[in-house]
Amino acid sequence: MVELILDQFTEAIRQAIARQRPVRIRGSGSKDFYGGAPQGEVLDTTAYRGIIDYAPEELVITARAGTSLVEIEAALAANGQMLPFEPPHFGPRATLGGCVAAGLSGPRRASLGAVRDFVLGVQIMDGNADQLRFGGQVMKNVAGYDVSRLMAGSLGTLGLILDVSLKVLPRPKAEATVQFECDEAQALQKMNRWAGEPLPISATCYHDQVLTLRLSGAETAVQAAQAKLGGQALAAGEDFWRGIREQSANFFRGNAPLWRLSVPSTAALDLPGKCLIEWSGALRWVFTEAEAGVIRAAAEQVHGQGTMFRGTAKPQSVFHPLPKPLMDVHRRMKRAFDPHGIFNLGRMYSDF
C-alpha cells in the first residue's frame, strides 16, 4: 500500500520532469494561504500517512508526511508528551509534512524552540524522484550536512518530504496563565527581563495594554513563580493560547493585510496599524495597509524582516527579499535538490 503511493509520487515527479510542468505539493491545504501563489498540478500527500515508530522513552516519533497533526498530538498526549514547538494547525486536517515545510511554530517557540530545533531526520523524494534519507532517530548526529533541518521552512521547494522524525518532550505537569496591565514599552522590558531570570515562562503575548504570560513546569514551581510575579490569573488559559496559536482570537479578525515581523526581542517598532507581540518581543503581528516597502524598511531598521502572512493583494515578494549573494546561494541550492525546477514553483520566491 505504502509502496504503491510512493510509486505514484515517483511517477508524478517523472511526468512533471518530462512535461516540464511544476508540481504543487499539498497536504490538507490548511496553509494554502501562506507564501507565494501555488502553481502546478497538485501532488496530494494525505494518503501517505501513519505513525511509523513512536518510542516515548526515546523521546522520538517518526511519521509519514500525510499524518495529521491531530493524530500525532493525540498519540503523544496519551503518553504525557507533546510537540515542543506547539505548531499552529490552521485547519482540522493539517499534516506533519505541511507543518515541517511551513516551519511555523507556536507560543512555546521562544522558550523551547522552533520546528527546526526538533527535526531529527527526514526521508525525501528529490527532484530526480530519488528517495533520500538524512539524519535519523537519534538526538545527536553530525554525519553529513544537516539536510533534515534545512527542510523545515523550505515550503516544499527542495523536495517532497516523505517522513519525518521529531524529538518530543514531556508535557509540563502544570500550567498557569497570568495577566498584567502595562504599555508596550513596559511589556517589552518585562518580557525580556523575565526571560533572563530563572522563571518557568513558556509563552508571552502582549496586545492592547495587556501582557499575558504562561508558566509551565512542576506544580510547586508554577505556584512559586505566580506568587513571585503577581498579576491576574486567567482561568481560561488554554483557550487563550489556542486562540493566539490558531489565530482565532479576536485580534486576528480583520481584513487588512496581516504582516508577520520577526525582529530582535527588545526592538521598538513604529508602524501604523494594530499589533500583537509574541515570543518575548521577537514576533510582531501587525495588521496594516502600509506599503510593503515601508513595512520592510521599518523592520530592517531594527535588523528584522517581514512576511506578508495573510492578505488578498500580495506584494511582489511575500517573504522578505534577500541580498543578492544570499539569493544566489539559494538558487544554487534549489538546483542541487531540484535540478529541473519542478517543486512548488513561486511558493517562496518568484523563481523557486
Partner: protein, 398 residues
C-alpha cells in the same frame, strides 16, 4: 594553505536584556559564559573541552556537551553567523530575531565542518542561569538495569539537565584519578543532574530518587551541596584523561544509538574487544544516546594502532546497524570518512556533493573532508569483500 582564526578572539557585543552575545569565532566556549556570568546568564552547550575549544569550531562541528538533552546542541543555541564565501562574498545568516527569511542556512552551516564557508562572527543565545542544580549518583551491578533506569526517568516526564553513564573500566579509571567517591564494585554508574527553579528541583530530585531506588540500584547518593556535586562531576569530566592513564594511547569513538539498544551494543562491543585483544572503557551521554567507547592500545606495539582503528570502525558500523549514526558530536573529518559510505547511499552522498558545489564549486574549502567521493566508497566496500587481500591481513575482520 592553513587559514587560522585563532586571532579572531574578541567578544564584540553582549546584550544582557536581549540575552545575546556576538563573538568572533576564536573566542573560547567557556569565555562566553564567563563574560555573561555577571548578568546571571550563560551559554548552554558545554563540550568537555569547553576551557579551550572555540565557538567557531563548535559551530563547525555542532558540538554538544553533557547538558544537551535538555538545552540542545550548538545548532539550537546560536542565532546568527557572518560567513565569508569562497567567492569573497559576506553573508549574514540567521538573525538576532528568532526567524529569518529563506532557507535555514544557519542549520546547514552548523556542523558543516568548514566545507561551505568561513565563519567570521557568531551570535549566540544566552540563557538564565538555573536557580539550583543538584546531582544524584546511582551504582548498578548490571549495565542493563542502568539503561532501564534512564528509560524510566524519561518516561516519568523528567528531562534531566545531565544524564551520564560510565562502565566499570571507566569508573575505576576515574576513581583512581580524581577520587570522586564512585562505587568501584559497580558495573555501571549513572549521574543524573536536575536543574531549574528551587521548587522544580526539589520535586524532581525526590521523584528521580524513587525511580533509581526501584530500578535496582546497588548504591544511591544525592549530592548535598555544590562541592559534592562538583566532585561527582569531576570524575566524569576527567574520564578521558583518566582512561588515558591506563594505556599509552586511547582511541575515542563517538557513535550515537537509540538508547533502547544500549545493552545489546555494549555486549557486542565486549565481543569486539575480545576479538581484537584490546580493552575498551565506555562513557555514555545516556540521555541522548551518544556513546564514547575509548579503545586502549599502545601505538608502539606493531599492529596495535591498526587494530584499534579496525575495532573503532566496527563500533561505528554497529551504531549505524542499530539505527544510529557514526558521529554524534565529534564530526567526520578524514578519520570517519569511510564510515560515511556505510551510513549513506550513493545518491545521498551525491546530493551532499551538489550542496558543497552550490557553495564552493571548485572544492577549495577543507578538501577531502566530511563527505567521501563515490570512488572512495567503492574501494572501501571492496576492502570488506576481499578479506584476504587487504593491507593488514593479520587483523581479524568479521
Amino acid at each position: 594553505m592553513l587559514l587560522s582564526l585563532a586571532k579572531f578572539s574578541r567578544i564584540l557585543h553582549l546584550d544582557p536584556l536581549a540575552r545575546t552575545a556576538r563573538v568572533q569565532p576564536g573566542v573560547r566556549n567557556l569565555a562566553i559564559s564567563e563574560a555573561a556570568a555577571p548578568h546571571h546568564l550563560y551559554y548552554a552547550p558545554d563540550p568537555s573541552s569547553q576551557i579551550i575549544c572555540s565557538i567557531g569550531g563548535n559551530v563547525a562541528e555542532n558540538s554538544g556537551g553533557v547538558h544537551c538533552l535538555k538545552y540542545g546542541l550548538t545548532v539550537n543555541n546560536i542565532l546568527a553567523l557572518r560567513v565569508v564565501t569562497i567567492e569573497g562574498e559576506i553573508l549574514e545568516i540567521g538573525a538576532t530575531a528568532l526567524d529569518s527569511a529563506g532557507y535555514d542556512l544557519l542549520a546547514l552551516m552548523t556542523g558543516s565542518e568548514g566545507m561551505l564557508g568561513v565563519i567570521t562572527e557568531v551570535t549566540v543565545k544566552l540563557l538564565a542561569k538555573p536557580e539550583r542544580a543538584q546531582v544524584l549518583m546511582a551504582g548498578f551491578d548490571d549495565i542493563e538495569k542502568a539503561g532501564a533506569a534512564v528509560a524510566a526517568i524519561i518516561s516519568a516526564g523528567i528531562i534531566p539537565a545531565g544524564l551520564e553513564m560510565m562502565d566499570k573500566l571507566a569508573i575505576q579509571a576515574a576513581e583512581d584519578f580524581v577520587h570522586a567517591g564512585y562505587p568501584l564494585e559497580a558495573a555501571a554508574i549513572l549521574l543524573c543532574e536536575l536543574d531549574g527553579t528551587n521548587e522544580e528541583v526539589s520535586e524532581e530530585i525526590k521523584r528521580v530518587h524513587d525511580i533509581l531506588q526501584s530500578s535496582g540500584s546497588t548504591s544511591l547518593r544525592t549530592a548535598s551541596d555544590d562541592a559534592e556535586r562538583l566532585k561527582l562531576w569531576a570524575g566524569r569530566k576527567a574520564a578521558f584523561p583518566a582512561v588515558g592513564r591506563l594505556a599509552p594511547d586511547y582511541y575515542c569513538m563517538d557513535g550515537t544509538i537509540p538508547r533502547k539498544r544500549l545493552a545489546e551494543v555494549l555486549a557486542r562491543i565486549r565481543d569486539f574487544s575480545q576479538h581484537y585483544g584490546l580493552r575498551v572503557a565506555n562513557v555514555f551521554h545516556a540521555g541522548d544516546g551518544n556513546l564514547h567507547p575509548l579503545i586502549l592500545y599502545d601505538a608502539n606495539k606493531p599492529g596495535e594502532m591498526a587494530r584499534a582503528e579496525a575495532f573503532g570502525a566496527k563500533i561505528l558500523e554497529l551504531s549505524v546497524e542499530v539505527g544510529g549514526t557514526i558521529t554524534g558530536e565529534h564530526g567526520v573529518g578524514v578519520e570517519k570518512i569511510d564510515q560515511m559510505c556505510v551510513q549513506f547511499q550513493p545518491k545521498e552522498l551525491t546530493l551532499f556533493h551538489a550542496l558543497k558545489a552550490a557553495w564552493d564549486e571548485q572544492g577549495l574549502l577543507n578538501p577531502g573532508k566530511a563527505v567521501p567521493t563515490l570512488h572512495r566508497c567503492a574501494e572501501y566496500g571492496a576492502m570488506h569483500v576481499h578479506q584476504g587481500q587487504v593491507r593488514f591481513p593479520g587483523i581479524p575482520r568479521f
